[in-house]
Structure formats: C-alpha cells, structure tokens
Subunit: 140 residues, 4 copies
C-alpha cells in the first residue's frame, strides 16, 4: 500500500461546492503513478520504452464530499496482476474519514500501434515481486 | 433513452492521444442533464428549488479510445428509480461503434444542509411516468 | 468571424458557482478549432500532416460570470497572421451580454521534432484568403 | 515571493504530449492560494467570512512545454494592490528553466450577493504589510 498526499484545488470543485466526481479519477491516476514510483518504476520511462497503460474499467464509490483546500490522503494498492492486465484499488481519506474508494483495471498497450501487449518482462517481474498480497487492504 | 451529441475537445485528450478516462464522467454528467431536459426537467431549476443530486457510485467500461474531434453520441437512460436514489446508464458511441458504457447512482440532497433527501414529489412523479422501463436498453 | 454555441457543463463550474477561469481557455480552444472547420480547414488533418499549433500567449478579460447550463455564443476571428504565427480573438456572449473577451497567439510546430515551423503553404494561403480583415471586430 | 512545488499529472496533458494551456491557469490558482497561506491568510476562511476573489484578467506567456511527471516550481508574488483589486504575478519553472510567466488581476466580491466589495480590512492590512515591493521580481 502506498500513500500520496493531495490538496484539493479550487478548480477541482464544482458549483455544489465539492470536488466534482470526475476529478476523483484524476486523483486515482496520481495514486497509481506515485505507487509505481514508490515501487522503483516510472510511468514516464515505461512510455519512453514504447508502452502505456490503458484504463479498461473504473469503479468509484463516493461516501463523503471532499472540499476545497482539504488535505487528502490517497491510498493505492495493486490488487490483481495477470500477464496482460492488472487492477489497482484506492481509498481517499481526510484524516481517518474515508471519502471514497475505487478501483481501476488496466491493460498494457504498445503506444506506436495502440495494440494490446503483455506487460514488459522486467515490469511484470517487479510487480510480482511486491504485489498483490491478498491479505492486504486499504483500511477503508 | 435519450441521445446527446458531443464533439471531443482538444483539452479532453491526454498525452496518450486519447480522451482521458476521467472526462468520460463529465460526458456522463452532460448526458443526465440533457436526459432531464428532454424529460421536461431542468437540473438548474432543481437547484434553484434547493435540491441537488450527488453521485454515489460510478462504473465505466472503456472499450475503444475516443480521439480529438470525434463526433460522439451519448445515450442515456434512467435504469433504476427508488424514493431516494436512482441510477442512470450510459453508452458512448462513435457511429455504431460502442466506445464506452457506464452507470452512475445518485442520491438527492438538500443543498442548504447537504443532507440526504427524498426526491421532490413532482420530480419523482415525472421520473416514474417515463422511466425506468426494464425492457429498454442502450443498444450497447 | 465565426460563431460556436456552447452549453456550460456542471464540471466546468467551481465552488463559486461560476465557470472556473481556466475553462474559458478550453472554450477559446473550441472556438479556434471550429473557426478552422468553418474555413474548410481541419486541425485534426493538420496534425495528421505532422504539424500543430502551440499556444504562445493568452489574454482573457472576465466581465461577467458564466453559470451552469448557460447557453453561450463564442465568436472567434483571426486577428493577425504572419509567416510563422497568428492571433485569434474571442468574445463569449450570453445573448447580447458579453461575458468575456480574449486573444491567443500561436506558433506552428513540427510535431515530430517539436520545432517551430512556418505554416504549411496551403494552410497559410487559405488563411490569407479569408482573414484578417482589420476593419472586422467581434461586436464586443 | 512564494514558491510552490507541482508535479504534472497525466490528466493535465493533452494530445500534443504537453500540459494543455488552460491548466496553467489552474496552476496559477494553486499559486495564489499557497501564497495566501504562506502570508498567514486562508482563502477558505475568507470564503467562510462571505468574501471571494473573482478573476478579472489573465495573461499567460508560454515559453517552453511542460510534460507529464515534470517537477515544477511555481513562483507567485503580489505585484499590485489597491482598495478593491490586486494583481498576482507568476513564473513557472522546471529547474532554472522558465516555462511560463503570467499574471492575474482580481476583484473582491461578497459571495452572497455576488457584488464587488472592498477587501475586508484585516485582509487589506495584512496584504499591505507584506507586499507589493516594487523592487521585487520573480527572477523570470
């Protein structure tokens, strides 16, 4: 499990005075980039090698509103891993209060062709090394 | 079922050259606002009356990438309706090709207090009149 | 001068209940894409030919707030044109009321190298044919 | 002068592979919120007191592209201050390289009525105490 801190920006709120639902997906995106970095992996380098992740599925559950200037903690974990796809889970907290949970499923693509691809071997090896641990959770 | 046309904006794409996953949720939001309008209901007026919808749950399934300048058709239908919550379903198409499907569950809140509320009676009545029809689908 | 219609989306508002200042720049972007289309030019095709426009300068003047669900008219005109750069002017209206004006200056780049480039000859010729007309304005 | 660190998010890039021009305005917004915080002022509290800032004018000059995962430094300073309006200046850097500069002019409004207002006295006093210093600059 990895934790990232986020401060809610004014531009992320909407006229209801709360963070717009779509922006939680951008937060999740930050979460997996930082998860990868913490694992010694760089999404930017992966792209430089000609690979990218595509989002196949997204699920988000909104429990409480996030507001401008809130300091949030985003917990991210790799929950599933197979040869060609993987799934991240997220929990967004304000202090100990869970604001939202979610998950995203991803495939790997060759950026040049846009075609689905297996995960590059070294990436797959590194991911298997660290995750997923079925017993783990996000405490949310 | 209601159809809205959307033209992909440059600002909605990301460095993969495709519409960023989060923006599909903004499209869905447009879809339900237009669905309401087509049903003779105005989300703006609902807010003027002191009520709002909050997003409780979002699910999105990405099948094919949407790209800059694509002309998209967004189909929206009310799939479930109860006293205090309802669920919309969406299908995003480019021509006959389904790019994504999804659904969002909503609750109703009093905007002043932020507290959950039943749907205003006239809104609930109007919604029941037209939807949901279990036999209906989005053709996607 | 070209006119585009825009309906304010909920996701474009912020906690002040008005369209966030940054989103006016996305509106302007829509304006110039549609201006090009009306001139028989396609920004998408330009990119397919290996060229792109980069934003060099932006100026925006906010006079009145735009709100959720407002139907806006965006007027766009090419105000300056030289070998390697050009400038668009914009006026955003709600009915006859001017909400904002602005301008953007652009250069042309070769997308592969990212290097500044002259405008492709056929594009430059077409642009010179139709604009700019110094006597023209946006009525704003 | 105040410095804030920003890491470019994937969702902030567009199909040109660079940060979309509109997102620089969201960065500037973060800059002034953090400037205020560093000055012992909270934009959130200001809103709780019934006041808000509105953007009246924006100018941005884009010199070099910002890319996904770039670590940016945003410098913000209060450049002008009068009874009812003020102006911030910004410089966005990657290391020592200036990517963009800009400025925003703001007025103060009573949030309830939306009407222009003088700055609350304690805010005005605090701002005058620390800024602007005409001799200062952003080193950009």
């Amino acid at each position: 499990m990895h934790e990232t801190k986020l401060r809610v920006r004014y531009s992320e709120t909407d006229a209801q005075g709360i963070v717009n639902n779509a922006n939680f997906l951008s937060y999740f995106e930050v979460g997996r980039v930082e998860w990868l970095r913490a694992a010694g992996l760089s999404y930017k380098e992966l792209e430089a090698q000609g690979y990218g992740f595509v989002v196949v599925e997204v699920h988000a559950f909104y429990k409480r509103a996030a507001r401008f200037d809130d300091e949030l903690t985003l917990r991210t974990r790799l929950a599933e891993l197979s040869r060609a796809s993987f799934r991240f889970e997220y929990a967004l907290l304000r202090g100990r209060e869970v604001l939202a949970t979610g998950s995203t499923r991803h495939g790997c693509v060759e950026l040049a062709s846009g075609r689905p691809s297996r995960l590059p071997l070294d990436l797959a090896a590194r991911l298997r090394e660290i995750e997923p641990r079925p017993e783990a959770g996000l405490g949310a």
